[in-house]
């Protein structure tokens, strides 16, 4: 009862207040010269707010990526498929340790891939800072958070924090700047869906040459989701340490890129190299599984030709080739962790993608991509496992931009790279997927890098 009375009183007060406000405005109307103090509360203009810092708000933007996916494959089974000898479970979502990790467009039906919040601003005369956060139903991920130098001379730039490595061409790009909704197989299976995304330091140097020449080195922590790692491998079921960890930072990346123009055509090429420790743990909760400990090298070559017909129309041919050489020990764990069999293992594997994208005008674009593997030599204990290489994917897409800030894309792909697990027959699967993706951005105008 008391509550009701209170509420009524409150309402009455509010109504009263509101009435007061009306009177004030009326008075103002009647007496245009009435002093400002007399008028009800109004926001002071920014320049008059004594301690206001709103002028210093960084550039903010939000990029939403949602998709509708139709895949002709059992959604429960798709996450268990593997690329034999190269990667396990690269489609769908996976749960472990109470966390769920999903690739982009993981689920049949609707997907909220992310809402990406980007904040950026100058720090002081010497640095700028940028943060890129992915909000999704699985939580918040720091995609990137780094500072870059702005005051270095001689073409030097330093970057520190968490960032996408500049290895290759595609690796540095965020998902929403990709020409297709998914990654090429070789990138995703070697590095995972985030690519080489690490905490570390980067130094890049642009040479004082008349054409573009850039060299960069990176020292990175080395916690890649697929390939690089430095944590001690432990069988969680038994608590037995199987392979000792390495001391981080344990991943080193270097690259050289060059570019020149011939008329309205730009050529860009690069070579990249990554070297680091690998600790890959595939031991299941029941104590069984396998693990790898060793060192890995990746060699990359990228090549891009882009021709401009005018300001809005272009044809782009983009290709990359990656080769990796992993050398170490494979631990086969059986009997609930009771038996651990170490054997030497080397992976010499290579893959590529090549894509052609045509922008007809500022509204319409279309593209095709072919990607796959050319080498898959896995040698365990001196014996070649004879893993397959006839794994590939065909992709085609068409996209429509209503403006610079909204893009709708229809993509089809046929994936011939996934196999059922060895103990379930090891059969090659052919998966057709249709993805309708909407990518919408608000806020600060994103500048496009090449």
């Amino acid at each position: 009862m008391k509550k009701i009375l209170l509420a009524t009183a409150l309402c009455a007060t509010l109504i009263n207040l509101h009435a007061d406000e009306t009177t004030d405005t009326e008075i103002k109307k009647v007496r245009p010269g009435a002093s400002a103090d007399y008028v009800g509360a109004s926001l002071l203009p920014v320049e008059k707010r004594t301690f206001s810092q709103s002028q210093y708000i960084p550039d903010v933007s939000l990029v939403l990526d949602v998709s509708y996916v139709n895949r002709d494959y059992d959604p429960d089974e798709v996450a268990h498929l593997e690329i034999p000898g190269i990667a396990e479970g690269i489609l769908g979502s996976h749960s472990h340790d109470g966390n769920t990790e999903a690739t982009y467009n993981a689920n049949e039906g609707f997907n909220l891939n992310y809402a990406e919040l980007v904040l950026s601003s100058s720090v002081d005369p010497y640095f700028a800072m940028q943060g890129v956060f992915h909000f999704s139903e699985n939580g918040v991920e720091i995609e990137e958070a780094y500072f870059t130098s702005t005051a270095l001379e001689h073409g030097l730039r330093f970057k520190g924090g968490k960032f996408n490595s500049n290895f290759g061409y595609l690796n540095q790009q965020h998902q929403h700047t990709w020409d297709f909704a998914d990654m090429p197989l070789v990138y995703q299976s070697f590095f995972g869906m985030h690519g080489i995304n690490e905490i570390g330091a980067q130094l890049q140097w642009t040479a004082p040459t008349p054409f573009y020449l850039m060299a960069g080195i990176e020292v990175l922590q080395g916690n890649n989701e697929q390939m690089f790692g430095n944590a001690t491998i432990e069988d969680e079921a038994t608590g037995v340490a199987i392979a000792e960890g390495a001391t981080p930072p344990s991943l080193y990346v270097g690259y050289l890129k060059s570019s020149f123009d011939v008329g309205d055509t730009t050529f860009l090429g690069g070579i990249s190299y990554a070297y680091g420790d690998s600790r890959v743990n595939h031991i299941e909760e029941n104590g069984d599984g396998h693990a790898f400990s060793g060192t890995s090298k990746v060699y990359g070559a990228d090549f891009l030709v882009k021709h401009y017909f005018d300001s809005y129309s272009s044809l782009k041919w983009q290709s990359e080739y990656l080769y990796r050489d992993m050398d170490g020990t494979e631990f086969d764990v059986t009997g609930g962790g009771a038996t651990i069999t170490p054997e030497s293992r080397t992976n010499k594997q290579a893959g590529f993608y090549s894509q052609l994208v045509y922008m007809y005008n500022s509204n319409w674009g279309a593209g095709v991509r072919y990607d796959g593997f050319t080498k898959n030599d896995v040698v365990i204990g001196g014996a070649n496992e004879n893993e397959p290489t006839n794994m590939n994917k065909y992709t085609a897409m068409i996209e429509y931009h209503t403006s610079e800030f909204a893009r709708f894309r229809l993509q089809y792909n046929r994936n011939n790279a996934l196999y059922t697990e060895a103990d379930e027959g090891g059969q090659q699967q052919h998966i057709d997927t249709i993805i309708f993706e909407a990518n919408i951005a608000i806020g600060a105008h994103a500048a496009h890098s090449f």
């Binding site: 270095l152 730039r157 008349p210 573009y212 890129k257 730009t266």
Partner: protein, 291 residues
């Protein structure tokens, strides 16, 4: 190997004292006029392309990296392409705020500044219309600013810059009178554009822009809007469509077919059309375009 390196570096060291990167050709022409032999110009954007959409190709990073100074148009015209170049150049001399960085828009009063901005109104320029160089009266203001800028960077040649400016101002003032005479009887003419590129030119000579072919800034033509243009043309009888060189003239041609309205290509910068080789030929052309 060493010889090869020297060969690479040679072209940079041989010539001018001051390498000035400029975003658009008109800025390059002005800077060269004032700076003469003491400056070397690197122009980032091409004159026949949309100034809003310049591709930040890697070769432009190199030009920005090797520059001793940078002069930009400003007014958010370069917002979509210049930041990544500056960001990757590793050159503190081209950073906003450096004394060798000049934003020309800070020296003119921008018109058509929107009272409120929202992207539902298209990709509007929040600071106002940035195409101010198309008012030939502003060219002198900009030249004066560039003269001060160059003098502050290379005080040794201050007198040459002053002299070049005086010579330029004298000939430009003559030209202004000539253009005023040419355009005197065009005052009050109604025109249609694709995008309001010519706002300052129109203001200078009293032309009245009554509509644009794009429904909103940065939004491509729509059939509904094009139909409404037919009615506007019928009702208001504009003299012509003053069309930029980089957008497709498809919609304009449709309007021409339906109403007979004349389409005139209007270059916005040096190099936009083949015979636009310098600033005075740009305005000679613009002031002679409407018959």
């Amino acid at each position: 190997m060493k010889k090869f390196l020297y060969l690479l570096l040679l072209p940079l060291s041989l010539f001018a004292e001051l390498t000035v990167a400029v975003t658009y050709p008109y800025i390059g022409a002005l800077t060269k006029t004032i700076g003469g032999e003491y400056v070397d110009i690197e122009t980032l954007a091409k004159g026949n392309w949309d100034p809003h959409f310049v591709v930040p190709r890697p070769s432009l990073i190199t030009k920005t990296r090797n520059a001793d100074a940078l002069i930009m148009n400003g007014g958010q015209l370069e917002i979509g392409w210049l930041p990544p170049l500056i960001n990757r150049a590793g050159n503190s001399k081209v950073m906003p705020g450096a004394k060798s960085f000049l934003n020309l828009s800070h020296n003119v009063k921008l018109i058509n500044k929107p009272l409120s901005v929202d992207r539902s109104g298209g990709d509007v320029h929040p600071d106002g219309n940035p195409h101010f160089h198309l008012d030939p009266n502003y060219i002198l203001v900009l030249a004066g600013k560039i003269k001060d800028f160059l003098s502050s960077l290379d005080s040794e040649h201050k007198q040459e810059f002053e002299k070049n400016y005086t010579v330029f101002a004298k000939s430009w003032n003559k030209k202004l009178i000539e253009w005023n005479e040419k355009m005197a009887d065009k005052k009050g003419r109604k025109i249609i554009q694709f995008h309001d590129n010519l706002a300052y030119f129109n203001k200078a000579y009293g032309l009245v822009n009554i509509a644009t072919i794009e429904p909103l800034p940065g939004i491509p033509p729509s059939s509904r809007h094009t139909l409404s243009l037919l009615k506007i043309i019928e009702d208001e009888k504009p003299c012509c469509i003053l069309h930029d060189v980089y957008h497709s003239t498809k919609t304009a041609e449709y309007l021409h077919d339906k109403t007979g309205i004349e389409i005139i290509l209007m270059p916005h910068d040096i190099g936009a059309l083949d015979d636009i080789e310098d600033l005075s030929s740009l305005f000679d052309y613009l002031t002679g375009a409407i018959k």
